[in-house]
Symmetry: C2
Subunit: 274 residues, 2 copies
Amino acid sequence: MHFMTALKAAWQQRNSLLCVGLDPDPAKFPAHLASRPQAIFEFCRDIVDATADLACAFKPQIAYFAARRAEDQLEALIEHIHTHHPAVPVILDAKRGDIGSTAEQYAVEAFERFRADAITVNPYMGRDSVEPYLAYGDKGVILLCRTSNPGGSDLQFLDVGAPGRQERLYERVARLVAEEWNASGNCGLVVGATFPAEIARVRELTGEVPLLVPGIGAQGGDIAATVQAGRTMDGCGLMINSSRAILYAGQGEDFAAAARRVAQDTRDAINACR
Amino acid sequence: MHFMTALKAAWQQRNSLLCVGLDPDPAKFPAHLASRPQAIFEFCRDIVDATADLACAFKPQIAYFAARRAEDQLEALIEHIHTHHPAVPVILDAKRGDIGSTAEQYAVEAFERFRADAITVNPYMGRDSVEPYLAYGDKGVILLCRTSNPGGSDLQFLDVGAPGRQERLYERVARLVAEEWNASGNCGLVVGATFPAEIARVRELTGEVPLLVPGIGAQGGDIAATVQAGRTMDGCGLMINSSRAILYAGQGEDFAAAARRVAQDTRDAINACR
């Protein structure tokens, strides 16, 4: 199924704009998992099973798997999601960016090896670095635009406009996506919850393009401001990501139940603002 | 050993500015390797052994390994280089870029799991996305600046200067690195051979910062123009990368010998211009 079709169905059927980020850090796992050889998979699987009916998407962050030689556990996790929760699309958070011939390899990694439904991509190298992902057609390609971290302003907030017409770099990225790269309707954009005014600006520039919004929860972004700035006319259009606040809500054997409670509260808090 | 110390020693002792890029594509391998389970490792190992005395660095591109579930072969390859050619530093071409907590995981992947001496990093997310790599101190951090691909101009060539003072985005990246991020002297920059005037500009902005220059060979960049634009006072300062032209110089069982001939010709062509 096309990523956008799956995402829209998940928004509606689950009544949720919540994206559950899967950033598994074994140092933060409950003690009973610590010595298990497949701890990363088991931890994420239990989180997934406890939150799947509350989520419009899952977003595993590949660095947490790669740092621990656990690509096989990432494969198993995505396979588990497709098998047991087929209505929830998987966004591989990889933020790749390279020349076309190399981007083709990264696209194989994301879409064929890991079987992700969408991938995050860095726009710094421009159009031909994005095309190999777009070429898959039914996969989502979510471009970094305005990121939620402090250093995000170093480049993204620079004025690249013609004389007398201010345009920030992140606005140019949004415009490139809306006017050129999204010709097949499979693009999204990453805009941090820490910058609601910029979420509103990106929404204004991009029409109905889905926005992946990290930065609520541990990073301190405001839910109400995010929803008001980023929702589309039908009250959707957003994948509001929470990772650490959900994953590490509990420290005991009931960690998945604790995660579910936070996920439910977060989904409801989002829905209260739609 | 500090990456910069190793790189300077390799430039001098090997009399070479040639970086051999390792982008192993099994579809282009000699027929006798095709069915071997460790073909990627064996192909790269033979290229490495045939060219190590001609190279100032090796640059494996991780996407080619990741697309084929061959991270174990990448580990074995880097281990092989460290064991048999310890004087040649290894640059992991990964172009990572993420928030600080995720960048810490990518740094573990590159420097602890794969034991690379340096990594390529994307600057789009700004300073805190680069700091976890810089924190290793003895490792090299090579930031994308002006890339060799056609889409490189989409963002990198935008004017971000104050009114009346043109400054391209790639120039701002070079300046950020030279003035801020390189405080510990472990940064480098990627500048494509397809843009000699911009190599010269980056050299002007960054003093002695080493430049990793892709784009000669298959991508058509000019060696003489690259060397003249980018060399430092002592005739070094450059890691001029060639991947495909060396790797796929031969198609038979003597592919490594063919690769060596092209590597030697390329090194000599570079040296003739220093």
